[in-house]
C-alpha cells in the first residue's frame, strides 16, 4: 500500500517536472512541424493559399535555383565535413600525447575560433578575403600564387572561402569531443600494444579509431545537420553569390519567405527537403557505422 502511494507520487512528480518542456515543445516544435507538412501541399502567395496537391513537388524538380542550392549544399557537405573531421582527429591525436610541450596553448588556440559568433567570424573572413586584402597579400608574399585572386567574385573561390571559413570555426569544436573521448581510453591498452612492438600509426588505426567510433559518428551526424542548415556564413560572406554559386537551402527558404513575394507553401516544401535529407543521411551514417562493426 505504502509502496504504491510512493509510486503514484513518483509518477505525478515525473510528469510535473517535464510539463513545462512538453507544453513549450508541443507549441513551438511539434505544432510547427505538422503545420509545415500541411503547408507544403498549399500553393499561393502571401496569406492566400489553397490545396495544391503535388504542385510544389513538381515545381521543385523544375526550379533551377532550388537545384543549384541543393547542389551547393551537397558540395559543402561532401568536401567540408570529411576535411574537418580528419583534421580534428589529427589534432586530437597530437594533443593527447602527455609529453607534448605547450599542450594547453595549442589546445586553447585551436579551440578559440568556437567562441566567436557565426556572424562575427563571417565578417572577419569577408574582410580578409577582399580582392586586394590581407590573404592575397600574404599569399603573394609567400609565393603561393602570382596574382591576386578575386575570392568572392568567382564561383569556385567563393565556395572555397565558405569551406575554409566553416573549417576554421568548427575543427576545434570537434577536436574537443575526440580529445575527451581519447582521455577515457584505458592507457594500459596502449602500454600493452607498445610492449608488443605495435608502431604508433597502427596503435592509432587499430586502437584509437575503433574506440572513437561512437564519437566520430556523433560528430559526423551533428556536422551533417549543421551543414544542411548552413545560413549565417553564406548570408554574411557572399549573400549566396556570385550568381547563386554559394546559395544554400536555408538561405533559399529565407529568400522565398522574407525577400521575394512570400510563397509560404513552396518554402515549406523546400524545408521538408532538408528534413528528408537529414533523416536519410543520419540513417545512412548509422548504417555504415554498424556495418563496419561486423
Amino acid at each position: 500500500m505504502a509502496k504504491s502511494r510512493i509510486g503514484r507520487a513518483e509518477q505525478r512528480n515525473g510528469w510535473l517536472f517535464i510539463a513545462p518542456t512538453l507544453v513549450l515543445l508541443g507549441l513551438f516544435m511539434v505544432y510547427p512541424i505538422v503545420w509545415s507538412l500541411w503547408m507544403s501541399f498549399q500553393t499561393g502567395r502571401g496569406m492566400n493559399h489553397s490545396f495544391g496537391g503535388f504542385t510544389n513537388i513538381i515545381r521543385l524538380t523544375q526550379d533551377p535555383v532550388f537545384l543549384r542550392a541543393l547542389t551547393n549544399t551537397g558540395i559543402f557537405l561532401v568536401v567540408q565535413v570529411p576535411i574537418m573531421i580528419v583534421l580534428a582527429l589529427l589534432f586530437a591525436a597530437a594533443l593527447n600525447n602527455p609529453k607534448l610541450r605547450f599542450r594547453g596553448f595549442f589546445r586553447t588556440a585551436i579551440f578559440l575560433p568556437c567562441v566567436t559568433s557565426l556572424v562575427a567570424y563571417s565578417i572577419l573572413f569577408k574582410s580578409m578575403f577582399a580582392s586586394d586584402g590581407v590573404i592575397n597579400d600574404l599569399a603573394i608574399m609567400l609565393h603561393l600564387m602570382d596574382a591576386p585572386i578575386s575570392w568572392l567574385g568567382d564561383p569556385f573561390w567563393a565556395r572555397t572561402v565558405i569551406i575554409l571559413a566553416i573549417t576554421w570555426r568548427w575543427t576545434g569544436y570537434n577536436m574537443i569531443f575526440y580529445l575527451a573521448a581519447m582521455q577515457n581510453i584505458d592507457k594500459s591498452i596502449y602500454e600493452a600494444a607498445r610492449i608488443d612492438g605495435v608502431p604508433a600509426w597502427a596503435r592509432f588505426r587499430y586502437i584509437t579509431l575503433p574506440m572513437l567510433k561512437p564519437v566520430i559518428l556523433f560528430t559526423t551526424v551533428i556536422s551533417t545537420i549543421g551543414t544542411l542548415q548552413l545560413f549565417d556564413e553564406v548570408n554574411n560572406i557572399t549573400t549566396g553569390g556570385p550568381s547563386d554559386s554559394t546559395l544554400t537551402l536555408s538561405l533559399y527558404i529565407y529568400n522565398l519567405t522574407f525577400k521575394f513575394m512570400p510563397s509560404l507553401g513552396y518554402a515549406a516544401t523546400v524545408s521538408y527537403v532538408i528534413v528528408i535529407l537529414v533523416a536519410v543521411l543520419s540513417f545512412l551514417q548509422f548504417l555504415v557505422a554498424k556495418d563496419r562493426k561486423a
Binding site: G14, F28, Y31, V115, L118, A120, F125, S250, V278
Partner: protein, 272 residues
Amino acid sequence: MSRVFAQARSGLVYAGLSLAAFVSIFPFFWMLVGTTNTAPDIIKGKITFGSALFDNITNLFAQVDMVQVFWNSTFLAIVGTVLTLAISSLAGYAFEMFPSKTRERVFAVLLLTLSIPFAAIMVPLFVMMAKLTLINTFTAILLPSIASVFIIFYFRQATKAFPHELRDAAKIDGLKEWQIFLYIYLPVMRSTYAAAIIIVFMANWNNYLWPLIVLQTNENKTLTLVVSSLASSYYPDYGVVMVATVLATLPTIIVFFLLQRRFVEGLTGSVK
C-alpha cells in the same frame, strides 16, 4: 635510425600544430588590428596597428545606439540562459530519476525532433508569432528556445552519474522532490551547469536567423544583427565594423575563460 625518424615526426607534429594555432589566432589579431585602422586600409590588408581607433569608436556610437543594442543582447542572453537551464535541466533530471515507460516513449520522440532543422519550422513559427502579435518582441525570441532538447538530453546523460543514495538520504530526511532538486542536485551538478551555461549563453548571444526575422525595429535589434547589417552595406566602414565585432565577441570569450575549467569537467563527465 629510428630516433632520427621519431625526431622528424615530432618536428612535423610541432610544425603542424604551430601552423594550426597561427591560422586559428590570426583572424583575432586581424580583428584587433582592424579596430585601429581606417576602412580603406583594412580592405588593402594593412596588418600593422594604425591610429583610427578613437575615430572608429566615435563613428560606431554615432551610427548606432550601442548602449541599447548591448543591453538587448545581454538581456536576451541572460534571461534565455536562466530560463533554458531551469526548464530543460528539470526535464532532463525527471526523465532519468522518475523512470516510466510512457515517459521513455516521449523522450524518444523528443530525440527525433533534434534532427528537425530550424529552417523547417521557421516559416510556421513566424506565421504563429504574427497571429499572436508577438513580432518584434523579446518574448517571440525566447519562447521557442527555452525548452531545448539538446540540453535536456545533456542533463539526462549527466544525471546518470548523480549518486542515487543522495536522493534516498534526502527523502528519509523528509525533503520533498523539488527541494531535493534545488538543494541537493543543483549544487552537486555545478560542472554540468557550467558547461550548459557556456553552450546556451553562446547560442543565445550569437543567435542570428530567428532574431533577424522577428526583431524589426532598430531599438530592438541585437548586437549580432547590428554587426551583420553594418557589414552588409555596399561600402561597409570596416573600421566601425571591427569595433562592433570586438564588442560582439568579448562577452562570449569572457564567459568561456571564466568557466573553461568547469566546461571541460562537465563535458568529460557527461561522456563517461
